[in-house]
Structure formats: structure tokens, C-alpha cells
């Protein structure tokens, strides 16, 4: 393929390569830039010992700007990845083995959210006691969650992230 091809996709691929290629691990792409640090903290990437490459404010056809994270030698469970649905429901996940994308995934709301979001109800015990929150997802399409403690139903779009 000639260098400087008008093919946008190819250009994007080259740009991703700037971030560095991955031989084994997980790529989380199409992260909204304002959610990057929440994704990092949700997956506890600050505690990782393997190589983590983070791209911030990259150009994106779909989004204008985006962020991307490449995590070497780490494969997450669906439960871990589905937590991302709260902060970045439209991320693209790629599982890489030997430089090949072996699996692509989207995230979806899990049945339960533990310690990820705050309850909207100021009189809820979780907002007044040093404790972990727990929510049951009652409607995955609409994004409705119910607080395990005070029973208040709320839309995931209106809750604060821990």
C-alpha cells in the first residue's frame, strides 16, 4: 500500500500504530477523552505491572477525538469489562494474540454494579456511611438501576461515578 493513500481507514491504522502495536493483550478503543481516566481507575490500571500504552486526544472519524488504551499480557473477564458500560458504553474491545485480533467485543450493562456509581438519593445510607454501593440493573435497554439499599430507581445517565 503506497504511503499517503487517501484511504482514511488505513491512515487511522497508521495512527494507532503510532501508539505502538501489541503482541498479546487487550485494546480498548473509542474511549471518549473525558472518560479516559475513569476507565483507567475502573480497571485499576494504575496498579498494573505489565506494559500499558495510553493514547489521549487522538483523531477519530466517529468521535472527533478519542482515547485508546493498550494493555499488554492482560485479558479481562466480561464482568470486569462490563463495568465500563457505565462510563463508556460504546468502547470497542479487541483481544490480541500474536499481533492478531482474535476477538472483538462490545460492553453491555451487567446485572449488578458494585462500587462503581453513587446513589442519587442523598438520604441513602450509602451516601452517609463509608461503604461500597450496590445496584441491581432492572432495565438494560433504558439503563435503569435500583439501589440495593434504599431501593431508589435511577437512570444510569444521571448518576455520579465513584
Amino acid at each position: 500500500m503506497p504511503v499517503g493513500s487517501a484511504d482514511g481507514k488505513r491512515n487511522m491504522k497508521r495512527q494507532e500504530l503510532i501508539v505502538s502495536a501489541l503482541d498479546h493483550g487487550t485494546v480498548i478503543d473509542h474511549i471518549p477523552c473525558d472518560r479516559l481516566f475513569q476507565v483507567i481507575s475502573l480497571l485499576h490500571l494504575e496498579q498494573m505491572t505489565s506494559k500499558v500504552t495510553i493514547g489521549f486526544n487522538l483523531k477519530s472519524h466517529k468521535m472527533g477525538t478519542k482515547s485508546i488504551i493498550k494493555i499488554a499480557d492482560r485479558f479481562f473477564t466480561d464482568e470486569e469489562l462490563n463495568q465500563l458500560s457505565v462510563v463508556a458504553p460504546n468502547v470497542s474491545l479487541s483481544i490480541i494474540r500474536d499481533y492478531e485480533v482474535v476477538e472483538k467485543k462490545q460492553v453491555c450493562l451487567p446485572d449488578e454494579l458494585r462500587g462503581i456509581i453513587h446513589c442519587n438519593n442523598p438520604k441513602c445510607i450509602t451516601n452517609n456511611e463509608p461503604m461500597r454501593t450496590l445496584f441491581h440493573v432492572t432495565d438494560k435497554q433504558q439503563g435503569i438501576v435500583r439501589c440495593h439499599y434504599c431501593n431508589h430507581e435511577q437512570n444510569i445517565k444521571e448518576v455520579k461515578i465513584v
Binding site: 438519593n121 445510607i125 450509602t126 463509608p130 439499599y149 431501593n151 430507581e153
Partner: protein, 314 residues
């Protein structure tokens, strides 16, 4: 094996009927030594004299001893102690903790951390399951059944947690609910959705008069509180429309009974107190048997044991 009593919404039909049979035993013989040697703690982080006296009487009449506080001002909570620390400390002293708290979900949380059973005596606007238990017992006592009843809920259906819990607990018994409330205090959509999901019929009424009441088996009155209204003009306009007066009972069924969680302010005319349909004071008395039942059930004491119990004080 113990189990906490945090909500009644999840209880099965069988469990509710079992608890009603247990309450019947206590109504026959309320004074026993079943809990001799046990200690019941009553922790009232929010004052509620009526509920506390009812629980403490229940414990005392079963031979237990009671510790606790009625006023949160005297606790370490005011010094910044967490609920968890208070619960863990009291768990060392008591066999069961009866707890009233101003925060919603406090009882659920306490039940997850405490090594002893927790009884929810009200957690903010969330749940008040012992009230629901005594309501169910009273309905059973007056109608001889919980099945296929017409239950009319009147007054504050928006904030009234007792009506919400009652609605949920009745779902096993094929009721028809009738909602009578000012627009500002109408039954929330969440609970109407709940009715639809569980196949509970409900009817909404604009009027509150003898014709409407004529279909009722249970007329459950609640207090319309001034402070619930954002528009005080609206309050002044509607407040008298939900008062129950004696002439409104002219077409009432013989079996119809009027219930009220109390305290009453002015929603039931005092002239009704002597009418055979009035039942709110007997209902309050049932609180004793319902709470004896709840305490025993959380401590793992079974209906069989209560039936075989010889330590009855005559």
C-alpha cells in the same frame, strides 16, 4: 439459624401465612417466658415512641430484657461514629437488634454486617415492615382471609410507605386496590407499574363519598400532611376532601373495617370511633402480636415450638 427482618416485600405467601399463624398464638397467650435470658436491643436513631413501646412491650411480655436508646442525641453517632461501629458494638451485648433509622437502606446494611439478626423498625421513607405485618394480621383477623379483598387506600399515597409496603405484600392474595388521593399525593407510577407487573387490579377515584366506600372491605386511611405540599393553596383546597365522616359510612358493607397506621390528626372524624367499622385501635394492639412474632422468627423460634411452649403466664 437466624434471619433478619428488613423488608416484607420479598416474603412468600406461605411465609406470610406462617407468620399470621404465629401471631394468632401470641394473641391467645401474649405473656410467656419464651425469651427468658435473652437481651433485645432497641436502637432508635430517630425517635418513634409508638413503635419503640410496641417492640419493647413485645420483648418484655416474652421474658426478654431490653437495652437501647430512644434518642439519638445520647449516642456516639453524634460524635461521628459510623453506623457499622455502633451495630458491631451492640451486637456484642444483644441477641437481636431492633433498629429505627432516618437513612434509607440503613437496616439492609446493618443486616449485612451484624452477627445478630436485625429487625427494621423503619428506615427513612423506605420500609416499615413491622407495620405491614400488623396490617396484614389485622386484615386477616377482620376478614377471615387475605384473598380477593377490595382494599381502599386513602390520603397520602405518594410518601406513605405503609401503603406501598402493604400493596407489595398483598400481591400473593389477588386483591383489588382503590386509590383515593389528591393529585399532588397520588400513587407513584413505580407502584402502578408494580401492580401491572404482578397482575394486581387497581382503580383510581376522584371522589371520596358513601358510594365509593360502599365497595370496600378495608378502608385504609393515612394522614395528608401539610408539609408534603409544595403549593399550600392546593393543600387548603383538598385537605377536607379526604376526611372520613360518619355519614359517609351509610352504604358501607358490614364486614368493612377502617384502618389507620396512627397517629391520626383529623382524617377520621372522632364520631366514627364508636362505629362498629372503626378498627384502628385494635389494629394498633395487633402491633404487639406482630412484633412478638417478628422477634421470635428472627431468633429462629418456630411455630411448633410456640405451640408446644409450656411457659405461658396466665
Amino acid at each position: 439459624m437466624f434471619r433478619s427482618f428488613v423488608t416484607i416485600a420479598d416474603h412468600s405467601r406461605e411465609k406470610i401465612e406462617y407468620l399470621i399463624r404465629m401471631a394468632q398464638e401470641f394473641e391467645q397467650h401474649p405473656n410467656r417466658l419464651l425469651l427468658q435470658g435473652r437481651v433485645v436491643a432497641t436502637l432508635f436513631f430517630e425517635p418513634s415512641t409508638r413503635t419503640r413501646l410496641s417492640f419493647e412491650t413485645a420483648a418484655n411480655r416474652l421474658g426478654a430484657r431490653v437495652i437501647g436508646f430512644a434518642d439519638p442525641k445520647v449516642t456516639s453517632g453524634t460524635k461521628g461514629e459510623t453506623l457499622k461501629d455502633t451495630i458491631m458494638m451492640v451486637s456484642n451485648y444483644a441477641d437481636v437488634i431492633v433498629m429505627r433509622h432516618y437513612l434509607e437502606g440503613a437496616a439492609r446494611y446493618a443486616s449485612e454486617i451484624a452477627p445478630v439478626p436485625i429487625i427494621n423498625a423503619g428506615d427513612g421513607a423506605n420500609q416499615h415492615p413491622s407495620q405491614t405485618m400488623l396490617d396484614l394480621y389485622t386484615i386477616y383477623q377482620t376478614q377471615g382471609t387475605l384473598d380477593n379483598l377490595n382494599i381502599y387506600l386513602v390520603g397520602d399515597l405518594k410518601y406513605g410507605r405503609t401503603v406501598h409496603s402493604l400493596l407489595q405484600a398483598m400481591r400473593h392474595f389477588n386483591p383489588t386496590f382503590h386509590f383515593i388521593a389528591p393529585d399532588e399525593l397520588a400513587m407513584p407510577d413505580t407502584y402502578k407499574d408494580y401492580c401491572r407487573e404482578h397482575g394486581i387490579r387497581y382503580v383510581e377515584h376522584q371522589d371520596f363519598d358513601a358510594d365509593v366506600i360502599s365497595g370496600a372491605d378495608i378502608l385504609y386511611m393515612t394522614r395528608v400532611q401539610r408539609e408534603r405540599f409544595t403549593d399550600l393553596m392546593e393543600y387548603e383546597r383538598v385537605k377536607d376532601r379526604y376526611l372520613l365522616k360518619l355519614d359517609m359510612l351509610s352504604k358501607a358493607r358490614d364486614n368493612m373495617r377502617i384502618l389507620h397506621p396512627l397517629p391520626r390528626v383529623n382524617e377520621i372524624d372522632y364520631a366514627i370511633d364508636d362505629d362498629p367499622h372503626a378498627y384502628y385501635f385494635q389494629q394498633a394492639r395487633n402491633g404487639l402480636f406482630a412484633r412478638q412474632t417478628i422477634i421470635c422468627d428472627t431468633l429462629g423460634i418456630t411455630l411448633e415450638q410456640i405451640k408446644e411452649d409450656q411457659a405461658i403466664i396466665q
